[in-house]
Symmetry: C2
Subunit: 355 residues, 2 copies
Amino acid sequence: MGKASTVRREVTVGDVAREANVSKATAARALGDYGAVSDDMRERVHSAAERLGYRPNELARTMSTGRSHTIGMIVGDIQNPFFAQATRGAADVINAAGFDLILSNSDETAHSERKAISVQLAKQVDGLLVAPASSLDASSLAAVTEAGRPLVLFDRTVADLAVDAVIASNRTGAFELTRLLTSAGHRRIAFLSTLQHDGDYRPGEVLLSSSVADRVAGFEKAIALAGAEGTAIIRLGAPRDDVERVAAELLTGSEPATAIVASDSLIALSVYRVAQSLGLQIPRDLSLVTFDDADWTALAGPGITVIAQPIHAIGAEAARILLRRIAGDGSEPVLRVLDQTLIERGSVAPPRSST
Amino acid sequence: MGKASTVRREVTVGDVAREANVSKATAARALGDYGAVSDDMRERVHSAAERLGYRPNELARTMSTGRSHTIGMIVGDIQNPFFAQATRGAADVINAAGFDLILSNSDETAHSERKAISVQLAKQVDGLLVAPASSLDASSLAAVTEAGRPLVLFDRTVADLAVDAVIASNRTGAFELTRLLTSAGHRRIAFLSTLQHDGDYRPGEVLLSSSVADRVAGFEKAIALAGAEGTAIIRLGAPRDDVERVAAELLTGSEPATAIVASDSLIALSVYRVAQSLGLQIPRDLSLVTFDDADWTALAGPGITVIAQPIHAIGAEAARILLRRIAGDGSEPVLRVLDQTLIERGSVAPPRSST
DNA sequence: GTTAGGATTGAGACCGGTCTCAGCGGGTCT
DNA sequence: AGACCCGCTGAGACCGGTCTCAATCCTAAC
């Protein structure tokens, strides 16, 4: 009472049929644009629908067809510009295909990811786009394939999981970036990442994120080539909200790093801030390179040298593959590796001590 | 054929009921945790569900209950950090309440917005969160209220539409920001926005976006207080991808602006870049202030003075209000205005000529 | 003049849940 | 002992679409 008054009964196919004096089946055919309907029937139904203000109920349609025209997408954190761009890329192709996007943040935890997947499956998404929180543990993702729904990973792959994935050429990118540093004469080079990790990194160790693992591999290769294994530092597990502290440690010890490879632009920003507050000038006192061509990198002092990932394209391509799978493509899973491009600006110079 | 083999029949309540040797109704009650069920019945049903790998179908539930536990959100562009943050704010409270988020980008066009709203309504969202593309034309939004679903606006309001809205104190913010400039002695101050607009701005004109309108109002008030009406410039309609050109015009004429109020951080970044390429030093040659405490503003040279909006809170509060409406709160629509906070850094100095 | 066949239309089952209502056994009140 | 209430269970309708199948009508072919 009082509550019921606000509940507007929706206009249904049945209502339209009655109004147009045709059967429900015919009305549905005319409205849904399927099957065979004569022109005047179609006309009659449509004008009746117009008169009543009919709005189709997608969910009811999904119930009988089994297709929800909805894609689930799970990112680490939509506030991270990387994910925002990838999401936009995916949204663009998905919308163009008449699908919609349900978005969840995993905060890079297996628990949230598992929960998000479960909810999205329950919502009958036609497929999922996931940046997996863990490249090692495929258990939460398994639910997707078990449910028979296509899954496409982006940004990182997962071992032992035969699904499509779209990633960037992180290994090569990290190699190029690091090479710039070693060529300039740097030896005390640090690789800095926020990837969740306990204690020190041990060479050869398997990492939680394949993209970081690839970057580390590229980094290590360049380091090895320069014979700088002894002085290079790989620092993982920096807390997202306290990267600054870790960066400061790297830059202040008795043997401070003279160059840093930041694993993403958010980290690079923190390093930049710390360098500033420490009175270190880039590139004179510190060389800094990073992944992702964030908007500020061109603006900072001399400009930061970066390796740019085709982020929008990663999201778009992942979505395209997913749509193809949904359409029934049953071919072997593919691994798409998109090229990164080096953008040299002015943040690399020879180390001071070596000059 | 061949296609059919991949279609896994879902396990339904009926299947579980059969397995547990109970009626469908009882199984549903045990699984859905409603109604009265004895302990051993519940146990029997749950173990049967476990055995079969039962997964509830949210859509079917929505069909009969009418609640989808899904919220639609329409933003201008998820790549814009403002919207990314607001989305995260909304997602956090929405997920905490057991709801999900469907996201669409409107690209600030009425057409895309209308389409997105229509699709989301068809998907039976329980309510909508919208940053309206137009503060003047309520027609696309009307569909939402007509459908009887609650709607909460954020970032901007819409005239003649009695719905909740959560915005920031843009007028006051712009006033404070501009005041800083006039107090420093500036008179040739430009307000720069990308808000879609044809030709020159005429004082008193009604603008497409209430938030920009409020900012302009605050700007004008401060300008009037300083008696600088004759030399102040309000420049709207700068194309998003060509703000730089417009900024350059502002800074290079015979009477270049000595200070700029950027309507958002993306614009400020462009201005900053142009200033750099023009060899203008901030704040010596140009004072620059902006809305939004973007990550790079603290880093740029002396640091940009900004007025920070509580963006995450705007999204979160809008979501909270929406959930309350969905829960049945029928009180009068509210307009929540969240305070902005001034963060003074070093981008304001007296104009050169006046020194 | 039939008849096969294509085009339309209507009736009703179905998708997978929820929910109302009736039925049943047992305890309590009088 | 009879009325009544309560807890629990089962049967079946319902949400709003789609889709199968049979019935009907019409036209072209034999």
